[in-house]
C-alpha cells in the first residue's frame, strides 16, 4: 500500500512541468562529458540519478524574490529543470563524476574498461 503511494508520488513528480536545460555533449576516446545550464539551482537542489541506463538531471530553481513582487516579464517561468538521457551500454554509470559551479553542471561519464579503445596489433608472419 505505502509502496503504491510512493510510486504514485514519484509518478506525479515526473508529470510536473519542467524546463529542458540546454546541454553540450562531447565524446572522446575515454568517455562522455556533458555540460548542462541550470541557472538558479543551488547545489542542494540539484538531483542526479542513474537508474540502470537512464540518467536524470533535475534541479529546482530558487530565486531571491522580494515579498510582494509582481512579475511583468518572465522567460524562465517554471520552477524546475529536468532532462533525461539514455546511456549506452559501454558507459560506466558507477564512475560518473559531477561538478556544479555557477549554475553549470559538468558530468564526466567514463567508458567501461572493456569498451576503451585498444590498438589492435597486426602480426606479420
Amino acid at each position: 500500500m505505502s509502496e503504491n503511494v510512493t510510486t504514485k508520488q514519484a509518478e506525479a513528480a515526473r508529470q510536473e512541468a519542467a524546463m529542458l536545460p540546454p546541454v553540450d555533449v562531447i565524446e572522446d576516446a575515454a568517455g562522455i562529458t556533458l555540460f548542462a545550464d541550470l541557472p538558479g539551482v543551488t547545489r542542494e537542489r540539484l538531483n542526479l540519478h542513474v537508474d540502470a541506463d537512464t540518467l536524470t538531471i533535475e534541479g529546482q530553481v530558487l530565486l531571491d524574490v522580494p515579498d510582494g513582487m509582481e512579475a511583468s516579464h518572465a522567460e524562465v517561468s517554471l520552477p524546475r529543470y529536468r532532462r533525461v538521457f539514455t546511456l549506452s551500454k559501454e558507459l560506466d554509470p558507477d564512475k560518473v563524476e559531477a561538478q556544479f559551479d555557477r549554475g553549470v553542471l559538468k558530468l564526466r561519464i567514463p567508458k567501461a574498461e572493456h569498451a576503451q579503445p585498444r590498438k589492435v596489433e597486426i602480426k606479420v608472419a
Binding site: 540546454p22 546541454v23 553540450d24 555533449v25 562531447i26 565524446e27 572522446d28 576516446a29 562522455i32 555540460f35 545550464d37 541550470l38 541557472p39 538558479g40 539551482v41 543551488t42 530558487l62 530565486l63 531571491d64 524574490v65 522580494p66 515579498d67 510582494g68 513582487m69 509582481e70 512579475a71 511583468s72 516579464h73 518572465a74 522567460e75 524562465v76 517561468s77 559551479d101 555557477r102 549554475g103 553549470v104
Partner: protein, 144 residues
Amino acid sequence: MMYRSVFPRDVFAELDRLQREIQQAVDYSPSIRGIGRGGFPAMNIGGTAKSVEIFAFAPGVDPASLDVQIEKGVLTVAGERKVDPVPDKASIHIDERFAGRFRRVVSLPEDVDANNVHAKYRDGVLHISIARKEASQPRRIAVQ
C-alpha cells in the same frame, strides 16, 4: 480540401515557422527591442512598490566579465561566456549552450533611481535591484 504549398518545404521548417507564429501571438508586448525568447541571458523582470527587480539567467559567467550599465532609462547587461575548448579527436553530439559575447538591453520605468542599484551574481543568476524614487513610492498620510 487539402492545402497544397506552391513549393513544398521541409516539414521541420514548417513546424518552426508555426511555432514562431504561435509565440508571437502569445507574447503580449511587441517591443521594438524584440524581447526575444531564446536570447542570452534569459531575463525575468518584476517590480514591487519600492523597486524594480531584474533576474538575468547567465550560468557559468565570470562575474568580473559582467558589465551592467544604466543610461537614459535603459539597462544594459553585457559580458562574455567562455566555454571549455573541445579536445582533439572529440566529437560533439549535442551543442545547445550559448558561447561568446552577449548583450541585452531593457528599458526601465521612469521612476527608477539609477543611483540606488544593487547587483548580485549567485548560482548563475544575476539579480539587479533598482530602487524607485522616494517621491513615487506610495505614502500613507496620517489623518489628524
